[in-house]
């Protein structure tokens, strides 16, 4: 008997397939099941068939009226993050020479704010909490936020997600932009990650790229569509230790 066949026999394939499409496997179980599926046609077929049912399940929720104002908030955020200009901006950033200093392109007012922020952002040094185990453990870093609210950076492997709570909406025609500071560099790199919190101040954004060589994740308010260089002092800093 071949390896994959042995795996199929050992595993209760159908039961795991059902739990998988319902999202009911633990994280490490789901990863193991995905690896198993690569070699098990039975499980692939089961998942494919059950996935259609899981998709239909979403419709079983009793209908609710969409709250007034939700569309306005979503579309305001959409218009604050034009995808075309964000993509174009990302291309410009890739071609652009690095600036000579951390915030060398900031106007004087922003530099003044930076000085204030440096005072407000006390004792840089994030608290890392570990959850899970093994190589897939998630590290959680508390970010220092100089505006109202709080934030966490969750890092799994080399991927990161920034989660904010109680954060005010960016100023009119602005959006929050995520920047990455590389080890040994004084110049933050722009990312395509732009976000606006929800009406309750919560939000999350995937931090693009590999965080292996990154020491700090920063956030600044920038003009809609993002900016190739920071125009404002960072309002959020998460240090990766």
């Amino acid at each position: 008997m071949t390896g994959p066949e042995q795996m199929s026999e050992k595993r209760d394939c159908g039961a795991d397939a059902a739990a998988y499409v319902l999202g009911a496997l633990e994280h490490d179980e789901a990863e193991a099941f995905c690896a198993h599926m690569a070699n098990c046609g039975v499980c692939r077929d089961e998942v494919s068939a059950f996935q259609d049912v899981a998709d239909a399940l979403a419709l079983a929720a009793p209908p609710q009226p969409v709250p007034h104002g939700l569309k306005r908030r979503v579309m305001a955020s959409v218009r604050a993050e034009p995808r075309g200009s964000a993509a174009a901006g990302e291309q410009k950033r890739k071609r652009r020479r690095p600036s000579i200093g951390f915030f060398s392109t900031m106007p004087a007012s922003a530099l003044a704010l930076s000085a204030v922020a440096a005072v407000v952002v006390i004792a840089v040094g994030a608290v890392a909490l570990f959850s899970g185990g093994g190589s897939s453990a998630t590290r959680v870093y508390s970010a220092h936020v100089s505006w109202p609210g709080n934030a966490q950076l969750r890092v799994s492997g080399n991927r990161g997600e920034l989660i904010v709570r109680g954060m005010p909406a960016p100023p009119p025609n602005k959006v929050y932009e995520v920047w990455l500071l590389k080890r040994g560099s004084k110049t933050p790199s722009a990312t395509a990650a732009l976000f606006s919190p929800t009406s309750s101040g919560s939000g999350s954004v995937d931090v693009p790229g590999n965080l292996n060589d990154i020491t700090t994740v920063l956030v600044t308010p920038e003009p809609a569509g993002g900016s190739p260089a920071p125009t404002h002092a960072p309002i959020l800093q998460a240090q990766i230790s």
Binding site: D12, G14, A15, D16, A17, A18, A19, V21, L22, G23, A24, L25, E26, A49, F50, D52, V53, A54, D55, A56, L57, A58, L59, A60, A61, P62, P63, Q64, P65, V66, P67, L70, K71, R73, V74, M75, S77, V78, R79, E81, P82, R83, G84, S85, A87, I163, L194, F195, S196, T198, S199, S200, S202, G203, S204
Partner: protein
Amino acid sequence: MFRPANSNSRTDLRTLADEDLMALVQEGEARAFEVIFDRHSGPAFSLAYRMCGRRAMAEDVVQEAFMSLWRTGARYERRRGSVRNWVLGAVHNRAIDAFRRGVVRESRNVSDEGIADRLKAPEQTDVEVARREEAAHVRGVLGELPAEQRQVIELAYFGGFTHSQIAQMLELPAGTVKGRMRLGLTKMRIALGDPAGFML
């Protein structure tokens, strides 16, 4: 892709199929995305509310889901499923993420069936009517499952609980929970016929 002569007109955009709208979304067309929102925000919010039990949290989940779709719209591939499934999948994932980040869930009364009759349909087109009938059919099929199978499916899919959490809650062996999930989904699959073909 079919595109009307004046694709900037909202009226014209509303005549486009979801998949054609997504081609415009991939070009950064916000008005096309607005039509997608109009079409799917109802089921999206209903799913989020069913999962979260609080309107504020459900609103946050829907807003985050639509924003993630706007940012990743270029990754939509029609061969991998309908736009509606793509939207609802994003809402489901966002709600699960929120649960597993520790956002508090409140117990909720999920038996508010019938509210559909009190809601004014946003678009009483044939497609909208068919979608409502389809949703009612799925609810009916789920409701006809034996209670113990429906319970584990609802706890997993709408509650975001893992099979081991459900096993602990119900004081059952994990294998029993998984077995009930499998039996329930199999019955639903048969009752729904070919859901892939059934979905609009």
